[in-house]
Amino acid sequence: MTERLQPQSGEVIDRSTPLPFVWNGKECTGYVGDTIASAIMANGHRIFARSMKYHRPRGLLTADFWDPNAFVQVDDDPNVRSGHRLLEVGVTVSPQNVWPSLDVDVKAANQLVGRFLSPGFYYKTFIHPQKLWPAYEKVLSTFAPGGEVDIETPLAYHDKRYTHPDVVVAGGGPAGMAAALAAAEAGASVLLVEHEHGLGGHLRWGSDEERAVAADLEAKVRAAGVEVLTDSTVTGRYEDNWVGIVQRSHPIAVERLIKARAKTLVVAAGLIERPYVFAGNDRPGVMLSGAVRRLINLYAVKPGERAVVFSANDSGDASVADLERAGVEIAAVVDGRTTGNVIATHGSQKAIKSVELSGGRTVEADLLVTAVGWTAPTSLLNMAGDRPVYDPAVARFFPSGTPDNVLVTGGLAGDGTLDQLIEHGSATGSLAAGRAVAIAHRLQAATVRAAAVEGAEPDLAADVRTPLGRDPHPELFRSTTHGIVDYSEDVGSKDLVSAAKEGYDSVELLKRYTTATMGPAQGKLETVNTVAVLAEARGETIAEVGTTIWRPPYAPITLGALAGRIFEPERVSSIHPWHVANGAKPILAGQWIRPEHYGDPAGEVTNVRTNVGIIDVTPLGKLVLDGPDVPKLLNLLYTNSWNKLDVGSVRYGLMCAEDGVVMDDGVTGRLSENRWLMTTTSSGAGSVWEWAENWLQTAHPDWEVFVTPVTTAYTSINVAGPKSRELMSRLTDIDLDPDAFGYMKVRTGEIAGVDDCIMWRIGFTGELSYELHVPAGYGLHVWEALLEAGADLGVAPFGLEAQRIMRIEKGHFIVGQDTDGLTKAPTTGLQPLIKLDKDDFVGKPELTWAMEQDLPVLVSVKMTDKTIVPPEASQIVRPGTNEILGRITSSRYSPTLGESIGLAQVPPELASAGSELTVVLTSGERTTAVVQEHHAHFDPEGARLRV
């Protein structure tokens, strides 16, 4: 059965290109230009879905993007709006929300119990026993509406675009096109965004004359250089005219998010036709006038055989003519502007057989067309701060006031003849362009470097547009019977009335209680009827009841489009390719990918302790500090003193925040009189830089210090082990004699033929070691030179894990692991580094008090059972109880000592050497640990690193 009409003068289908597809398991054919819905209708199918709660059969209602009855699954794409999505060849289209099938749906039995499914049904039952709710919930969740997500769906290519047009016009109807044209002619750059597949708005399905006007306007718009996006929607207007646009028509990306910083935004979104509430208003065959006009004029689809038209406006009147031309018999035309009314439809579940009219008349028909008025989709205006006001004479809301950079035209602003609408649009476009000039000037002048902007700021053009009129329209929301208000949520006017009587009688409470307006159309079809029914129930006016605030986005956006390409940076050092080639196991540390080990971390430890090892420590944060006042800055940021650090020496520093909590630590060396190199923890590199700048710029702008971040300008390599001096001597002329270059000293010079290297002697691993900072371009070269030159010394790389083991063997803490968000400096045991006699430093008052307080103490521990390594974060409890006293902050098996060691935060009374700690393991079993005298388990005197 085909319902395709003879060619229509305004049709948008290409009859020369048929497209086979499958609907509901049946082979069908449509044409290029068809929407999925028009193609399904053309193939003689009228049932599109089952409703959410009662599983009632549903047919097309609005035949556009907002049609609540036309959601389908297209291949792996759920919730496709078949009234909007264009048909593509070979797609498999399935109905949603049906079980087991569209034609026979078992859940339709819900209708039989519909009288019990009152609003708030779920709140009032399944209460006892609460333990059974999960079981009910499991069953109920199978009633969830919507399509199915295939979680294996591949992530397709998405992209985003930024644009900075002078004017964005939302809506490409006659007023929007006229606005775009006028703005462009005034010299503005203009982006015109149209939700539908073509420009023209309601003219697209209008008369030949109307379409000619649209075509003429479109030609001018395109000739004027306006950028036109169709099948795209302005989804949101955010602060400072940051405009979100979803482009569904991008040739490559599935959907593209466009972010426009518009100087002015023109909202010409038009009006959305509103359904009418009466008994049987969701029976297939009830359609809005816009739906039948689209079906006939754009897609040449015959919507029915015998129609009743209930018309209260031009659109309804025009649909009568369209229907007649399409060969649909007009059984009756009921005029809503007089006393005519529709009471009910009657028929089967799946089709109308007759329509009951006011005055007791019943007319046989299979199609009922309603044209009862318009909803103003004020979403973008709401987002701009506008609170639209209801006008009962016109039966819709109008804007009450928008910011200077948001202008309204078209149906949202008022009514008029086509010429008047175009004239208003044109005036709006000129105004938008004029304001854009003033706003551009203001923005540019706000930038001092560009202050050369010519002339004084132009006055913001005044709004001297002739306002559009308002055509009277009857208030037609609900007939004398009850019907569906929210089709997607299956909420009826009766439900709303009873919920209001129950006390949910403000629009927000009503919405939450009944879920009316919460569905996929987000109230575009339902809000005004909901408010009207509530007003009626309360005996108030719509203005008194008020309306809900429409939330963004205006139209839904796929998560893929919102995400775009995902830019999550990863950082690697210049030696990374070597690590990969040599079997390093990668580990993610902040943004950095680092070698955790090269196969045998314990062996790497032993090699460092006996021969020499090298580790890539490039992520170490590095800042070059220049200027005569660097010691002042260091004295301020660190708790210890920096007055007497000679050129050529380095010192460890501990950094706290103003609340005394440990923030960072690291080594800083004085390279020359006025140049210093500061190192920070890897994760602190960025924040310490900002911290230093904050103090310099806000508290001490008079200090002469210049901070340059150089973390990735240098590749950093630690050369550690008893044979490290021998190894380094083969690659540098720097005098390595312990008397010439002692522990905690720094030298600069040439290493492996590379100039401008920095080398200092420190000892995180506890061995004689040299930390090299070499220009990053030569990092890999120096690394390879070290391996080559030290082959006979047993040189081998070591990774993060070996370093962690060695630092625990040495009792060094790591900020953020052994300390936490409340750990103040004295806990670390570094009291000698807290110089309270300094005039000032960050956190000084707090640390002065903290020194007197009983704070937790960081101690080194050994397990009584040498083989048990308690996981880090294992809790320390009072014996025989679950009272938490502290925790193991770090733990490893030490290959050097052959036993399990760690660090722990404990209360002061358990901090003395020999104290026994009860440690709870993951299994719940308890073991004991013993507090050690020194932080360092290995070489506590530090003899090995001072050689």
């Binding site: 602190g684 924040s687 900020v815 005039d839 707090e846």
Partner: protein
Amino acid sequence: MLLVPCPHCGPRNQSDLRLVGATVPRPDPNATTPEEWGDYLYLRDNPADWIEETWYCRAGCRRYFTLTRHQGTNEFRNPPMPGDKVGTATYTTISVGSSGSQPGANIEPHTTGGAS
């Protein structure tokens, strides 16, 4: 996406900057009391009104500066010119959002602004 009027770079997307917090004077560290210091650390004006606050242009000029913003409408008033006074040192313990650049943000149980 708010436009923040950086005095050096001009209006920039909010994501280019970091709000450090309301400006507060730092008490004399050698003469302060725990109460006064506690107020300095934790107490900030929070009106639905104009407020002076420090911003940091982290993706642009890397300068700290003071702006006056309305906490109800997010409107900025009288953007400063370079050379105008900048905020006194400010300290914000509330590490919020995903900026991740709050001092101490690397300290583990302090890494994310809370959420539900």
